[in-house]
Symmetry: C2
Subunit: 150 residues, 2 copies
C-alpha cells in the first residue's frame, strides 16, 4: 500500500476536530500513523468533555495507539501546531514526522521539533485556520485555559 | 500555613513511586502543589498497570489535579528528571517551580526548563537514585520503552 498523502492524514485529524466541536469541546484533532500508513490511533482534545486538562489532540491519539515498542517511521498529524506538552511528546518518543494543519492561530513547538530532527510539514490549511479562528473568538477564556495562559 | 520544605514534597512523590513499584509498574511518582502548599494532585507512572503510554508520573499528577484556571505559583515535584513530554507539560502550563528527586539515572529537560524561566531544584536524593538504578538494571527493555529508546 502506498503511503497516504499528508492531506489525507490531515483529513482524519480534521474529522476528529469536528467531532470534538460537536461534543462542545475544543476543536483540535490528531492521529498517529505507522510508516506504512496504517492508522495507529486517532483522537481529539477532551478538556471539556472529560474535564481532563491532559487530553490534547495529540496525547489522545498517542494514548489510543496503545503501547508501542518503537515510534520509528511514525507520523503524527494534528490540526494545530503542537503546544510544548505535545511537542515534548513527539520528541521524547522519537515520532519521525509531524504534519501540522496550521500554525497561524497558535505557534507551538514545531520549529523546535524541526531543529531537533523531526521531519515537519506545515500545510497551512485554510479550513483548520477558520475553525480555530472562530473557536478562539467565541471562547477566549477556555482557549487560554487550554494553553496555560493566565 | 507555611510552605512545606522541598524534601516534604519529595516524600509524597516517593510514596507514589513506591506504590507504582508495588503494582508492578515503573517507579516514578510526582505531585502538584499550589503556592500555599496545598496538594492539588499526585500520581505515578501507569504504563504497565493501565497499558497506557501517556501516563507518566507528572502527567498523572497533573490530570488528577483537574482543570485549573492558572498554574501560577504551583510546584511540580517528581522523583526523576522529567522527560521532554513532561518537561513540555511544565513549560506549557506555566508551572512555576520544579523539584526533581534526581537526575543521575535519567537526564531530562530540567535544564531547558530552568533556561525558560522555571525555578528548578534538583535534590539529588540517594533513595530516588537507588530505586531507579535497581529498576533499570532489572527491566531495561521496559525502561527504554517508557522513554522512547529503540
Amino acid at each position: 500500500m502506498s503511503r497516504p498523502a499528508d492531506t489525507e492524514l490531515l483529513a482524519v485529524a480534521l474529522e476528529e476536530a469536528r467531532a470534538g466541536l460537536a461534543e462542545g469541546g475544543i476543536p483540535i484533532g490528531a492521529a498517529l500513523f505507522a510508516a506504512d500508513g496504517t492508522l495507529l490511533g486517532r483522537g481529539h482534545n477532551r478538556r471539556v468533555q472529560d474535564d481532563d486538562p491532559s487530553v490534547h489532540g495529540e496525547t489522545d491519539a498517542f494514548r489510543r495507539a496503545g503501547r508501542q515498542r518503537s515510534y520509528r517511521g511514525t507520523t503524527m498529524v494534528t490540526t494545530l501546531s503542537p503546544c510544548w506538552f505535545c511537542s515534548g511528546l513527539v520528541r521524547q518518543f522519537g515520532i519521525t514526522r509531524l504534519v501540522v494543519g496550521e500554525a497561524r492561530t497558535f505557534d507551538g513547538g514545531h520549529d523546535w521539533l524541526a531543529e531537533n530532527g523531526v521531519e515537519v510539514v506545515v500545510l497551512d490549511d485554510d479550513t483548520c485556520v477558520a475553525m480555530m479562528t472562530d473557536f478562539i473568538a467565541a471562547n477566549p477564556t477556555l482557549w487560554n485555559e487550554d494553553i496555560g495562559v493566565d
